[in-house]
Symmetry: C2
Subunit: 422 residues, 2 copies
């Protein structure tokens, strides 16, 4: 099979199906989603059997426990996927909304209408739930999807894609709206990134290397994100007990996610009181510290261990119970540190000064900035967007959680009666 | 001078200045714009003298008359630049607008604030007015600019950039907010496209080759656009006289621009009556036709000359008085033709059928779609956006005319009182 030609064929098929999806009525899209939920439940045994093959092969190759956990489906997880799909059906349809509607001085009626994007290319790791999540959100947003999952998930994905296509056909929609690259050849990722004739948007869901590959190779606009080096600055005026609570929540509640805290910046006036209380709260929960000389000394005085931080440590997304610490002289120094080390995901200031809060909010250029709140809130469902396909850390098109609206575009519609330009 | 290092320095300087611009008060930005207008008027003699050097050198190299016209400044054109700059000062400031403001169920106040983009990289041809236009719009939108003009405009641009920097300083803003690559080496364009550490957005203003280079090489998001292969479909039910008027306007009023008409698709039921009337109106104005066999025959029967169109002709942006013609059987065939050949800029249907109008509007996936109106309206000032920096034909971030709002992004602001995620 000539791979390039067949990939282009997938793209062309997805584009043709996208024309139908773009104008499909809401009820028909929702029916496909409901049918999908039913099919997932009905096919649970087949899905779990296929997943078992993937999991066994991954175990034999020595995949880490954390990755195995992401790969593994259980009956409860299949039920959850079906429930999520029904929730997407219940969300409002973003397509067709009028964003603007006015009559120009010359009498031409000008509308700005929200419309479907077209074809979404999604490149992701060994997480079978992503197959259902992005296809369901894409469908609701009126777009076709071209999926490139990990080779580790091939058996599971084949069954899930078959469920998706069955549900589309049952609802009278083209099965071609879900395309799946059923070939583990890595060269196909690069080829997908050059399929700008058929694909309108690339969403990479994976690590920094995948994002860099997409930035380097893609002819198609890419939404990068999902990598969060997140900061909290504890200002001199912060409430000490609240600071301990917030740092604990941001670091410990779910350390493996992108909006978890990576570095706490402590004002020099509050550090001597805060650090011992913080270490006393966090160390028993398994948190270890990468500390600059000043915080290292304060911790030592209080009888707590910590490693000396290298500058390199401030550029780590820990995804673990490690916490970077640095004592700073001022709000300015905190902002400078964040400008140098943040991935522009989520950063927070803890302060009782309105002026400092407002300066932080204005000057820290991140997708989400917080005042006296945990960084853990950056999330589509927390923000009330209903669901999210990714968290964007770039500034174009979508910033922060990408929900259904962020999976659409708009067009201008000019309604005239023989209007010519003078 | 090690060019790469110096380019990175320009980027770093622009980014540092962008931090100041992003939070500068509206009045200060407007003062800089007003000072710029004054400076342009005061420096008109120096600007014109520098421009004379560029024009003479270009003439000696044999530059075409059309390009020379774009390169040439006159006293009136400098006055117009000053007037445009004052108009930008009068536009509302897009920065700081609240796009959303609500209290989540947990009590966290969540705002979506419109904010500056940061640093705009602009790559453009020998049009000195672009230097002032994009810098003025960027400044109003709170962003710094890193400009890469054509080598043909080097003398003029040096003086214009000096005017820009003077005006910024007079208003107490950092001169570094306008950076200019004062070196004709083409390799610097590629290097600029890889400066993702400092530059947030690339706007290419030039032909298809420049856009393709940017898509291929850029690590930075690019807004492509400005290339319009535009269609009008004259449906069977269209008003015949109105059709002649609209095609004339779209083709003849200003043939050299991107929203001018390239191909007219004529329903087979109206073509026999329309083509003779159209040729009689357009031929005397110098319009020549590239016609498919059916329209060629109809024109010949009416005694009009035309060239036979090749398929290749339907992929031309004519920018001239050439018009492609094709007779089609149906709305479906017209939509298929547009899907194959349109650059998704501006396409129009002429019809008296509401159902056909709505199908065309929904199914033609272009930045602007029109019903019974000329394609020539796709333009920031026509749309009431005040000014435009480019016309985007891509679907992400901005579609169609890009005004001040499209030169911004947003951030999420979470205002809490010790809020942690449960």
């Amino acid at each position: 099979m000539p791979l390039t030609a067949s990939l282009a064929q997938l793209g062309e098929d997805a584009q043709r199906a996208s024309y139908v999806l773009a104008t499909a009525p809401t009820a028909q899209k929702n029916e496909a989603l409901t049918r999908l939920a039913d099919t997932l439940e009905a096919q649970a045994t087949a899905i779990l059997a296929a997943n078992r093959l993937d999991v066994e092969a991954a175990e034999a190759r020595g995949m880490s426990a954390a990755l195995l956990d992401r790969l593994t489906l259980t009956d409860a997880r299949v039920q959850a996927l079906a429930a999520d799909t029904r929730q997407v059906a219940a969300l409002p349809d973003p397509v067709g909304t009028l964003l603007d509607d006015r009559v120009l001085p010359n009498g031409l009626r000008l509308q700005k209408r929200r419309v479907a994007l077209g074809v979404l290319g999604v490149i992701y790791e060994a997480r079978p739930n992503v197959t259902i999540d992005v296809a369901a959100l894409g469908l609701k947003a009126g777009s076709a999807v071209l999926l490139r999952g990990s080779a580790d998930t091939l058996h599971t994905n084949r069954v899930l894609v078959s469920c998706l296509r069955t549900a589309l056909e049952q609802a009278g929609l083209p099965a071609g709206a879900v395309q799946f690259i059923d070939d583990p050849d890595r060269a196909l990722v690069t080829q997908l990134l050059r399929l700008d004739r058929y694909v309108d948007l690339i969403i990479p869901r994976g690590g920094a290397k995948l994002h860099q590959l997409c930035k380097e190779q893609s002819l198609i606009p890419v939404i990068t994100g999902g990598i969060g080096i997140c900061h909290m600055f504890v200002d001199a005026s912060a409430d000490l007990e609240q600071a301990v609570d917030l740092i604990e929540n941001a670091k410990v509640q779910r350390p493996s996610v992108c909006n978890a805290l990576d570095t706490a910046l402590l004002h020099t006036a509050i550090a001597p009181a805060l650090l011992p209380a913080l270490a006393a709260r966090l160390a028993p929960q398994g948190v270890t510290f990468k500390a600059d000389p000043a915080s290292l000394q304060l911790l030592a005085q209080a009888g707590h261990d910590a490693d000396a931080a290298s500058l390199y440590d401030y550029d780590q997304e820990w995804l673990s119970l490690t916490l970077g610490l640095r004592v700073v002289d001022s709000l300015d120094q905190a902002i400078d540190h964040i400008r140098q080390h943040s991935t522009q995901h989520s950063d927070s200031i803890l302060t009782r000064s309105d002026a400092h809060a407002e300066r932080f909010v204005r000057e820290v250029d991140s997708a989400a900035v917080y005042v006296n709140a945990s960084t853990r809130f950056t999330d589509g469902s927390q923000f009330g967007l209903g669901a999210e396909v990714a968290v964007s850390t770039q500034k174009l098109h979508a910033r922060g959680p990408m929900g259904l609206e962020e999976l659409t575009t708009y067009k201008w519609v000019g309604l005239g009666d023989g209007h010519v330009r003078g």
